[in-house]
Symmetry: C2
Subunit: 218 residues, 2 copies
DNA sequence: GGCATCTATCTTGTATGCAATCTCGGACAT
DNA sequence: ATGTCCGAGATTGCATACAAGATAGATGCC
């Protein structure tokens, strides 16, 4: 939304969101306004506005007179998040194949080739960061602000559940191969091909998550 | 979101949203908190929370210390809204073709057949209402809450720009024919067919809007 | 006459206070 | 012993009050 927004409410919203995304505010935790207020050294008013904002992004649930809690997602809801994410990413890729400018296409290719080096090195952290940038550039490449915004929001929401995906052995190189199919389709303007390739890629991420979750649950 | 939410902020949010959607609050209008407050007979606090909520749905734009204005969309942005809408609706239709329960499928068919009668009668208002319900049932039929929510949000945002679409002569029957293709694909579980049919349908709506806008601009 | 600047006023952002509602613990009745 | 009802405490929702930044008009200067 508003990137440079110096109001306390905005800063609190991002601070609380960070807390939720990095796990320091676990799902199900009750967020009482008073506590958050004095914890951040402000009054209740900006806290209230931040909470209202977060509730619309789906990160927390607010019930009329019962306060706010960090959204506790059921497995079904997480599954839906991943499905929605895959669909939206695929749609963005399709539009990007049609709408990207030559400059954007060249940048996408350069970024992709840079990631191949990272994948070979096995630098998980750097690859993860580059991966976020890679996908984001496809969102913006769709040249459709509402879709791109929604994609970013979904990405934030699935973040807590996909943290360890690149830990799986060999995932980096496979990810790069899948990216390769996506990039080739986009560069050649193959809309449906880009859609299919991205859907395949993100669905595999989902599978990786499920495998990871299954091993952790066992 | 929260359907039965008796807080003033929620009621104000829907009231202001209605005002924007029905045109009584035209795009570009400045929304000063004080004015809205005494206009609705409340204090500024719930107004502020309502505005913050609306800003996240994209209906209004808020800038840090400069207040809120009703979103004034450029033609490009409106175009993007329609494109996003078409893509999301098509995605919902595809998922619906896969995920709808037998009961939902039968209800969809019944609703669709009922609309044929309305189209023949030429009852524009009733058809329009039924049309909203028809599309909404496909959103929920996707069994994917995030996507359905986003679709509803987009529908609200494009609302102001598609008000007169059914006024075009013969649009009702053509709409019904297009629905027929969508319904048939969904009922038969033809995922890609449902996607294509819905994309086609909504894109035609977009064309109708553009024709309408062109005639008005001329 | 035009433009910059300064100030007065207005609007927004934040804090605090009060009323209504919900939660939770205990007492009482069955 | 268990279920129900009631009341105190706590928390949310709303209103009001205060502070800070922005806008606009006027005034002085070029």
């Amino acid at each position: 939304m508003n990137s440079e927004n110096p109001t306390l409410a905005e800063k609190l919203a991002t601070a609380i969101a960070d807390g939720i995304l990095n796990g320091s505010l676990p799902p199900g935790l009750r967020l009482d306004e008073m506590g958050l207020a004095e914890q951040h050294g402000v009054s209740r008013t900006p806290v209230r506005e931040a909470l209202r904002q977060l509730s619309l992004s789906g990160l927390i649930d607010m019930r009329p007179r019962k306060g706010a809690v960090v959204s506790k997602a059921t497995p079904d809801q997480v599954e839906n998040l991943f499905v929605a994410m895959a669909e939206i990413e695929a749609t963005c890729a399709r539009l990007a194949a049609i709408s990207m400018t030559p400059v954007e296409r060249r940048r996408l290719q350069a970024r992709h080739e840079g990631m191949l080096a990272l994948a070979k090195t096995g630098d998980t952290g750097a690859y993860s960061d580059a991966n976020v940038a890679f996908h984001s550039s496809i969102y913006t490449g769709s040249h459709n602000a509402p879709l791109a915004e929604f994609a970013l929001n979904l990405r934030r929401r699935v973040g807590p559940f996909r943290r360890a995906q690149f830990q799986v052995e060999g995932r980096l190189l496979r990810s790069n191969q899948e990216h390769d199919a996506v990039v080739r389709a986009i560069l050649s303007g193959d809309a449906s091909g880009a859609h299919a390739a991205m859907l395949h890629h993100v669905s595999l991420v989902e599978d990786a998550f499920e495998a990871f979750a299954a091993t952790n649950a066992a």
